[in-house]
Symmetry: C2
Subunit: 344 residues, 2 copies
């Protein structure tokens, strides 16, 4: 859990509106004890006598990351006043599904690096990544069955199907410079936001809250998830990221049309359109990423993407109006700002 | 459903003990009407607005195959006197899980052909195969949730985890000429028999039968599944298959040590051991498969593998002793002989 950044770096604050430093820390403090238990459940339940499974799972799960999705389940349960143990186990289910999708994503993207570490498929091969992903996915459903809520099973099996649909849609959209904003948002709502939605809903379900409250937390998760992915997509073209020594341009190299590019294509001169058609649809050569970054900067589409993320962030916060003010509610609101201001 | 072979070809009958022609037809006749409904559920529920999903799923599902696993669910339910609709939907769940594992297997094995047809990954790429497999797997759990039985969810989520474990174990065993019979059987029990077990148990669960009867049908499925895989592994080295124009030697080329090879290694002369070490652990050249077939024939290990399959087949039949004699029971017994005498 070492990656929690207390504030956004200076460069990004110039893009984000002037405000207090956003942090995930208040939410992390509130769920800390539960999250420790969730982490223990994750370690215990990724066990298998087939050694490669825990070895590979540990590589990805123990590598850290923010555990944002299980934290949302725990935070949503807290917001609803839930005090029992079920949320901890279900938070582990959410993390297992997330990990399974990461393992399969890296195979799909043919990625060799994730957060600067070698990916599981680079270390152990695509085959192991596919199969260990399948194991974690199955294990997640086994844990849900142990919990015994058909409503939770409905939410998370539904989210899993939607995630797979979103990933397939993204695959079909690769190399398409005519991609519409509507199609782009459809993809990110499915591949990313659906699990945020489900993670939050599950927290309300274990607390046995009303349909209205379950939906409100679901809306919070959906809009937070969209904002989160928009920032991810912006950071992949961020010169600030590059100056911090982080890899950028993954989406570009894969021919994925994300919002910064989609908006730059919309504003392109005829000559720029030719450039985008070649690099996205056809082939790339040295210097293309640099030229793409220039065009993105010229048209200010990173700023546009951040503005869009802030819009969804505002919707996420608004969704919490259903709930009375509390420390947990404030912490969930801070988490939205954190997701937008984060630099990784 | 065109592939149902009414009898084993002449060549194989020389290996199988003298007996009446075995056939899957009696079981197919008994479940025909239910299976038609299951096929309709499969077609309806593999739908997605993301077109590539039904296109790719249809390629694999509509390509036929015997639908052996859903047929077992329907047959087991019939044996237990079940007359309702639930078994049809759950049989579709079983087939979706099977299809998802096939899609992921073909990525894992880097196969380009399955039953003489191009595999989905050869046609649409590994990425699509991984993701559509994930979709079908999720859809299967959605259907189980609709059915509403936590016991069914427990059985099929457990089977899915075991299948993934078996596949990983198999991957770890590739190229290992010291593989033990125990390890080999552990792999096939997990990767193949677990879903046969679950498919049969589910049929008894919907009929609300006793634990003893659920277990008896589970034992039937387990032993049938092991016999089925043993025959699969034998046929991959069968000169009769080759003379019928079917591809053989897939396992050999992948360095998978299956029973015919494992037993040939055990009986090998020092010189033969050197051959196996080179071709399984290291590299293969032209003529190696032919030499492997000679050694397998010399040591009679195809016959040994068939004998082992017949032993498991006998255990499968014995497991049905719990049930009174009936047409369904006879048909399930015939299905065991069919699995052993089949030529594909």
């Amino acid at each position: 859990m070492k990656e929690v950044t207390l504030s956004a770096p200076t460069e990004l604050k110039n893009i984000a509106p002037a405000q207090q430093k956003a942090s995930l820390q208040p939410l992390m403090n509130i769920v800390k004890s539960d999250l420790d238990d969730t982490n223990q459940i994750i370690l215990d339940r990724m066990h298998s006598d087939v050694e490669l499974i825990p070895t590979l799972a540990r590589h990805l799960i123990a590598a850290g990351g923010k555990r944002l999705r299980p934290v949302l389940t725990l935070g949503a349960a807290k917001l609803c006043g839930y005090e029992g143990d079920r949320a901890k186990k279900l938070a582990a289910c959410v993390e297992f599904i997330h990990t399974a999708t990461l393992l399969h994503d890296d195979v799909v993207d043919e990625s060799n690096l994730r957060r600067g570490n070698q990916t599981a498929n680079a270390l152990w091969g695509n085959q192991a990544s596919v199969l260990v992903g399948d194991f974690l996915f199955s294990r997640s459903f086994q844990l849900m069955v142990e919990d015994g809520s058909l409503e939770v099973l409905r939410i998370l099996s539904g989210a899993s199907a939607v995630i797979a649909e979103g990933e397939v849609l993204q695959l079909m959209n690769v190399g398409d410079i005519t991609l519409t904003e509507e199609s782009y948002f459809k993809v990110i709502a499915a591949k990313t936001a659906a699990l945020f939605t489900a993670a939050c809903e599950v927290g309300a379900v274990v607390a046995d809250r009303s349909k209205k409250e379950i939906e409100a937390l679901g809306d919070y998760g959906t809009n937070l998830g969209i904002a989160f992915q928009l920032i991810d997509d912006a950071l992949d073209y961020s010169s600030e990221q590059q100056s911090l020594g982080k890899a950028i341009g993954d989406d570009f190299r894969e021919g994925k049309v994300t919002l910064p590019v989609l908006l730059a294509i919309r504003k392109a001169t005829p000559e720029e359109t030719k450039f985008w058609a070649r690099v996205i649809e056809d082939n790339q050569k040295d210097g293309d990423l640099e030229h793409a970054l220039e065009l993105i900067e010229k048209h200010g589409t990173i700023e546009d993407t951040f503005a869009s993320a802030r819009k969804y962030g505002a919707l996420a916060k608004e969704a919490l109006n259903t709930f009375e003010d509390s420390d947990v509610k404030s912490a969930l609101i801070d988490a939205v700002d954190f997701a937008i201001e984060r630099a990784y």
